[in-house]
Amino acid sequence: MAIIVNLDVMMAKRKMSLNELSEKVDITLSNLSILKTGKAKAIRFSTLESICKVLECQPADILEYRND
Protein backbone atom coordinates (compact mmCIF):
# COMPACT_ATOMS: atom_id res chain seq x y z
CA MET A 1 0.00 0.00 0.00
CA ALA A 2 1.45 3.39 -1.02
CA ILE A 3 -0.21 5.52 1.66
CA ILE A 4 0.85 4.57 5.20
CA VAL A 5 -1.20 5.66 8.20
CA ASN A 6 1.10 6.53 11.10
CA LEU A 7 -1.70 7.13 13.58
CA ASP A 8 -0.32 4.63 16.07
CA VAL A 9 3.06 6.41 16.03
CA MET A 10 1.45 9.78 16.77
CA MET A 11 -0.77 8.25 19.44
CA ALA A 12 2.29 6.73 21.11
CA LYS A 13 4.09 10.08 20.96
CA ARG A 14 1.11 11.82 22.61
CA LYS A 15 0.61 8.86 24.97
CA MET A 16 -3.03 8.62 23.97
CA SER A 17 -5.07 5.43 23.87
CA LEU A 18 -7.44 4.47 21.05
CA ASN A 19 -10.42 4.85 23.39
CA GLU A 20 -9.39 8.34 24.42
CA LEU A 21 -8.79 9.44 20.84
CA SER A 22 -12.12 8.04 19.66
CA GLU A 23 -13.91 9.97 22.41
CA LYS A 24 -12.08 13.23 21.64
CA VAL A 25 -12.40 12.97 17.85
CA ASP A 26 -15.97 11.69 18.14
CA ILE A 27 -15.67 8.70 15.82
CA THR A 28 -16.36 5.11 16.70
CA LEU A 29 -13.65 2.82 18.01
CA SER A 30 -14.14 0.43 15.10
CA ASN A 31 -13.72 3.22 12.52
CA LEU A 32 -10.61 4.44 14.28
CA SER A 33 -9.30 0.89 14.33
CA ILE A 34 -9.95 0.59 10.55
CA LEU A 35 -7.96 3.80 10.07
CA LYS A 36 -5.12 2.68 12.34
CA THR A 37 -4.71 -0.72 10.70
CA GLY A 38 -4.60 0.83 7.21
CA LYS A 39 -7.84 -0.84 6.03
CA ALA A 40 -9.55 2.50 5.30
CA LYS A 41 -10.12 3.40 1.64
CA ALA A 42 -10.50 7.14 2.26
CA ILE A 43 -10.46 9.73 5.01
CA ARG A 44 -12.67 12.80 5.19
CA PHE A 45 -11.03 16.20 5.62
CA SER A 46 -13.24 16.78 8.65
CA THR A 47 -11.96 13.58 10.32
CA LEU A 48 -8.37 14.44 9.47
CA GLU A 49 -8.87 17.94 10.85
CA SER A 50 -10.29 16.59 14.13
CA ILE A 51 -7.46 14.06 14.54
CA CYS A 52 -4.82 16.73 13.83
CA LYS A 53 -6.51 19.06 16.31
CA VAL A 54 -6.57 16.46 19.09
CA LEU A 55 -3.07 15.10 18.42
CA GLU A 56 -1.67 18.60 17.76
CA CYS A 57 0.06 17.56 14.58
CA GLN A 58 0.05 18.04 10.79
CA PRO A 59 -1.69 15.70 8.29
CA ALA A 60 1.77 14.66 7.05
CA ASP A 61 2.54 13.35 10.53
CA ILE A 62 -0.31 10.89 10.18
CA LEU A 63 -0.20 10.10 6.47
CA GLU A 64 2.92 9.13 4.59
CA TYR A 65 3.51 8.19 0.94
CA ARG A 66 5.89 5.33 0.20
CA ASN A 67 6.85 4.32 -3.33
CA ASP A 68 6.50 0.49 -3.45
Binding site: L32, I34, L35, A40, K41, A42, I43, R44, T47
Partner: protein, 233 residues
Protein backbone atom coordinates in the same frame (compact mmCIF):
# COMPACT_ATOMS: atom_id res chain seq x y z
CA UNK B 1 -36.77 10.74 -4.61
CA UNK B 2 -37.83 11.29 -1.04
CA UNK B 3 -39.00 8.27 0.94
CA UNK B 4 -42.40 9.84 1.46
CA UNK B 5 -42.83 10.22 -2.31
CA UNK B 6 -42.50 6.49 -3.00
CA UNK B 7 -45.66 4.47 -3.58
CA UNK B 8 -45.10 2.20 -0.60
CA UNK B 9 -43.18 3.16 2.49
CA UNK B 10 -40.39 0.64 3.29
CA UNK B 11 -42.25 -0.45 6.42
CA UNK B 12 -45.50 -1.07 4.52
CA UNK B 13 -43.60 -2.70 1.67
CA UNK B 14 -41.99 -5.12 4.11
CA UNK B 15 -45.38 -5.89 5.64
CA UNK B 16 -46.89 -6.59 2.20
CA UNK B 17 -43.95 -8.85 1.30
CA UNK B 18 -44.22 -10.72 4.60
CA UNK B 19 -47.94 -11.30 4.07
CA UNK B 20 -47.23 -12.41 0.51
CA UNK B 21 -44.55 -14.87 1.68
CA UNK B 22 -46.70 -16.46 4.39
CA UNK B 23 -49.73 -16.48 2.08
CA UNK B 24 -47.63 -18.23 -0.54
CA UNK B 25 -46.34 -20.74 2.03
CA UNK B 26 -49.88 -21.45 3.26
CA UNK B 27 -51.14 -21.84 -0.31
CA UNK B 28 -48.36 -24.30 -1.16
CA UNK B 29 -48.95 -26.32 2.01
CA UNK B 30 -52.68 -26.36 1.30
CA UNK B 31 -52.14 -27.34 -2.33
CA UNK B 32 -49.66 -30.09 -1.42
CA UNK B 33 -52.00 -31.53 1.15
CA UNK B 34 -55.25 -31.38 -0.80
CA UNK B 35 -54.00 -31.81 -4.35
CA UNK B 36 -52.07 -35.03 -3.82
CA UNK B 37 -53.67 -36.41 -0.67
CA UNK B 38 -57.16 -35.77 0.55
CA UNK B 39 -57.11 -35.72 4.35
CA UNK B 40 -60.75 -34.61 4.51
CA UNK B 41 -61.82 -37.75 2.65
CA UNK B 42 -60.21 -39.84 5.38
CA UNK B 43 -62.47 -38.25 8.00
CA UNK B 44 -65.48 -39.10 5.83
CA UNK B 45 -64.54 -42.77 5.95
CA UNK B 46 -62.88 -42.87 2.52
CA UNK B 47 -59.48 -44.53 2.10
CA UNK B 48 -56.46 -42.24 1.76
CA UNK B 49 -55.69 -41.76 -1.91
CA UNK B 50 -52.58 -40.51 -3.61
CA UNK B 51 -53.52 -38.44 -6.66
CA UNK B 52 -51.43 -37.35 -9.62
CA UNK B 53 -52.81 -34.97 -12.24
CA UNK B 54 -51.71 -33.73 -15.63
CA UNK B 55 -52.64 -32.89 -19.19
CA UNK B 56 -52.19 -35.22 -22.11
CA UNK B 57 -53.33 -35.27 -25.72
CA UNK B 58 -54.58 -38.28 -27.67
CA UNK B 59 -53.57 -38.40 -31.29
CA UNK B 60 -54.84 -41.05 -33.74
CA UNK B 61 -52.01 -43.29 -34.91
CA UNK B 62 -52.70 -42.47 -38.57
CA UNK B 63 -53.41 -38.83 -37.86
CA UNK B 64 -52.60 -36.11 -40.34
CA UNK B 65 -53.68 -32.47 -40.55
CA UNK B 66 -57.28 -32.04 -41.72
CA UNK B 67 -57.69 -31.06 -45.34
CA UNK B 68 -59.36 -27.69 -44.95
CA UNK B 69 -60.69 -27.54 -48.50
CA UNK B 70 -62.77 -30.69 -47.95
CA UNK B 71 -64.03 -30.21 -44.43
CA UNK B 72 -64.18 -26.47 -43.80
CA UNK B 73 -65.56 -23.41 -45.50
CA UNK B 74 -62.57 -21.14 -46.03
CA UNK B 75 -63.67 -17.54 -45.51
CA UNK B 76 -60.34 -15.87 -46.07
CA UNK B 77 -59.07 -16.28 -49.61
CA UNK B 78 -56.26 -13.71 -49.42
CA UNK B 79 -53.60 -16.21 -50.24
CA UNK B 80 -54.03 -18.08 -46.98
CA UNK B 81 -53.70 -21.85 -46.88
CA UNK B 82 -55.09 -22.89 -43.49
CA UNK B 83 -54.01 -26.13 -41.85
CA UNK B 84 -56.02 -27.24 -38.85
CA UNK B 85 -54.19 -29.26 -36.25
CA UNK B 86 -57.08 -30.78 -34.40
CA UNK B 87 -56.72 -33.51 -31.86
CA UNK B 88 -58.21 -34.42 -28.56
CA UNK B 89 -56.65 -33.28 -25.36
CA UNK B 90 -57.69 -33.52 -21.80
CA UNK B 91 -57.06 -33.62 -18.13
CA UNK B 92 -55.97 -36.90 -16.58
CA UNK B 93 -56.17 -37.83 -12.96
CA UNK B 94 -54.86 -40.99 -11.34
CA UNK B 95 -56.16 -41.87 -7.90
CA UNK B 96 -54.17 -44.54 -6.10
CA UNK B 97 -55.97 -46.13 -3.18
CA UNK B 98 -53.19 -48.70 -2.95
CA UNK B 99 -50.44 -46.46 -1.62
CA UNK B 100 -47.80 -49.16 -2.21
CA UNK B 101 -48.55 -49.00 -5.94
CA UNK B 102 -49.02 -45.24 -5.74
CA UNK B 103 -45.51 -44.65 -4.53
CA UNK B 104 -43.77 -46.43 -7.37
CA UNK B 105 -40.47 -44.95 -8.55
CA UNK B 106 -42.00 -43.21 -11.57
CA UNK B 107 -44.90 -41.82 -9.53
CA UNK B 108 -42.54 -40.44 -6.92
CA UNK B 109 -40.51 -38.77 -9.65
CA UNK B 110 -43.69 -37.19 -11.08
CA UNK B 111 -44.69 -36.13 -7.57
CA UNK B 112 -41.28 -34.66 -6.73
CA UNK B 113 -40.92 -32.70 -9.99
CA UNK B 114 -44.51 -31.48 -9.63
CA UNK B 115 -43.81 -30.30 -6.09
CA UNK B 116 -40.40 -28.86 -7.00
CA UNK B 117 -41.80 -26.66 -9.79
CA UNK B 118 -44.39 -25.31 -7.32
CA UNK B 119 -42.23 -24.95 -4.20
CA UNK B 120 -39.29 -23.41 -6.03
CA UNK B 121 -41.30 -20.17 -6.29
CA UNK B 122 -41.37 -19.86 -2.53
CA UNK B 123 -37.75 -18.72 -2.83
CA UNK B 124 -38.97 -15.75 -4.90
CA UNK B 125 -41.41 -14.57 -2.25
CA UNK B 126 -38.84 -15.22 0.50
CA UNK B 127 -36.16 -13.20 -1.35
CA UNK B 128 -38.66 -10.37 -1.85
CA UNK B 129 -39.39 -10.36 1.87
CA UNK B 130 -35.70 -10.43 2.82
CA UNK B 131 -34.97 -7.61 0.35
CA UNK B 132 -37.87 -5.55 1.69
CA UNK B 133 -36.47 -6.02 5.19
CA UNK B 134 -33.04 -4.87 4.00
CA UNK B 135 -34.58 -1.84 2.26
CA UNK B 136 -36.27 -0.88 5.53
CA UNK B 137 -32.97 -1.21 7.39
CA UNK B 138 -31.21 0.70 4.57
CA UNK B 139 -28.62 -2.03 4.08
CA UNK B 140 -29.68 -3.46 0.75
CA UNK B 141 -26.32 -3.48 -1.05
CA UNK B 142 -24.88 -6.47 0.77
CA UNK B 143 -22.84 -9.21 -0.96
CA UNK B 144 -25.30 -11.85 0.28
CA UNK B 145 -28.04 -10.31 -1.89
CA UNK B 146 -25.86 -10.66 -4.98
CA UNK B 147 -25.77 -14.43 -4.41
CA UNK B 148 -29.48 -14.61 -3.59
CA UNK B 149 -30.47 -12.66 -6.69
CA UNK B 150 -28.23 -14.84 -8.88
CA UNK B 151 -29.98 -17.89 -7.45
CA UNK B 152 -33.32 -16.23 -8.11
CA UNK B 153 -32.34 -15.63 -11.74
CA UNK B 154 -31.58 -19.34 -12.15
CA UNK B 155 -34.96 -20.31 -10.71
CA UNK B 156 -36.87 -18.94 -13.70
CA UNK B 157 -35.40 -21.22 -16.40
CA UNK B 158 -35.08 -24.03 -13.84
CA UNK B 159 -38.82 -23.90 -13.28
CA UNK B 160 -39.41 -24.26 -17.03
CA UNK B 161 -37.00 -27.21 -17.19
CA UNK B 162 -38.68 -28.87 -14.20
CA UNK B 163 -42.03 -28.34 -15.90
CA UNK B 164 -40.77 -30.06 -19.05
CA UNK B 165 -39.33 -32.99 -17.08
CA UNK B 166 -42.57 -33.30 -15.13
CA UNK B 167 -44.67 -33.35 -18.32
CA UNK B 168 -42.41 -35.97 -19.87
CA UNK B 169 -42.58 -38.15 -16.75
CA UNK B 170 -46.35 -37.75 -16.55
CA UNK B 171 -46.66 -38.81 -20.17
CA UNK B 172 -44.63 -41.93 -19.38
CA UNK B 173 -46.90 -42.63 -16.41
CA UNK B 174 -50.05 -42.08 -18.48
CA UNK B 175 -48.71 -44.32 -21.26
CA UNK B 176 -48.11 -47.07 -18.68
CA UNK B 177 -51.63 -46.76 -17.28
CA UNK B 178 -54.01 -45.96 -20.13
CA UNK B 179 -54.37 -47.04 -23.74
CA UNK B 180 -56.92 -45.92 -26.31
CA UNK B 181 -57.39 -47.94 -29.52
CA UNK B 182 -55.54 -46.53 -32.53
CA UNK B 183 -54.33 -43.51 -30.61
CA UNK B 184 -51.10 -42.56 -28.96
CA UNK B 185 -50.58 -40.18 -26.07
CA UNK B 186 -48.75 -36.92 -26.42
CA UNK B 187 -47.97 -33.84 -24.34
CA UNK B 188 -50.17 -30.98 -25.56
CA UNK B 189 -48.47 -27.97 -27.17
CA UNK B 190 -44.95 -29.19 -26.79
CA UNK B 191 -41.91 -30.45 -28.57
CA UNK B 192 -40.58 -33.90 -27.89
CA UNK B 193 -37.16 -35.07 -26.77
CA UNK B 194 -34.47 -32.55 -25.79
CA UNK B 195 -36.43 -29.72 -27.51
CA UNK B 196 -38.94 -30.06 -24.65
CA UNK B 197 -36.70 -27.67 -22.67
CA UNK B 198 -37.65 -24.85 -25.02
CA UNK B 199 -41.29 -24.74 -24.11
CA UNK B 200 -43.49 -21.65 -24.06
CA UNK B 201 -42.57 -21.05 -20.42
CA UNK B 202 -38.90 -20.79 -21.29
CA UNK B 203 -39.74 -18.10 -23.83
CA UNK B 204 -40.82 -15.81 -20.99
CA UNK B 205 -38.54 -16.98 -18.26
CA UNK B 206 -35.22 -16.61 -20.04
CA UNK B 207 -35.69 -12.83 -20.54
CA UNK B 208 -36.72 -12.51 -16.88
CA UNK B 209 -33.51 -14.31 -15.93
CA UNK B 210 -31.49 -11.76 -17.92
CA UNK B 211 -33.36 -8.86 -16.30
CA UNK B 212 -32.52 -10.23 -12.85
CA UNK B 213 -28.89 -10.77 -13.87
CA UNK B 214 -28.86 -7.11 -14.93
CA UNK B 215 -30.18 -6.15 -11.49
CA UNK B 216 -27.39 -8.30 -10.02
CA UNK B 217 -24.86 -6.10 -11.86
CA UNK B 218 -26.46 -3.03 -10.24
CA UNK B 219 -26.15 -4.75 -6.86
CA UNK B 220 -22.47 -5.59 -7.51
CA UNK B 221 -21.75 -1.90 -8.20
CA UNK B 222 -23.88 -0.85 -5.23
CA UNK B 223 -22.03 -3.26 -2.91
CA UNK B 224 -18.70 -1.92 -4.17
CA UNK B 225 -19.77 1.68 -3.52
CA UNK B 226 -21.15 0.75 -0.11
CA UNK B 227 -17.90 -0.99 0.81
CA UNK B 228 -15.92 2.12 -0.18
CA UNK B 229 -18.34 4.31 1.75
CA UNK B 230 -18.09 2.07 4.82
CA UNK B 231 -14.31 2.27 4.71
CA UNK B 232 -14.31 6.06 4.43
CA UNK B 233 -13.56 7.38 7.89
Amino acid sequence: MKESQSLLSPKLFEKVCRIFFFGHLFFLLFLTMFDYFDPLGYFHGEPITFTLRGNIAMIPTQWKPINVNESFQVLDTLGVKPIVLLHERGFVRFDYTDLFKGFSRLNILVFITDLAKLWIWLYLSWTLWVLAKAIRKKSVFEPKFIFRLRLLAVIFPLSAILDSINKQLFLKLATNVIKYPNHYLYIPNSFSGWKMVFNEKMLFELPIMFVILMVVQVFIQGAKLKNENDLTI
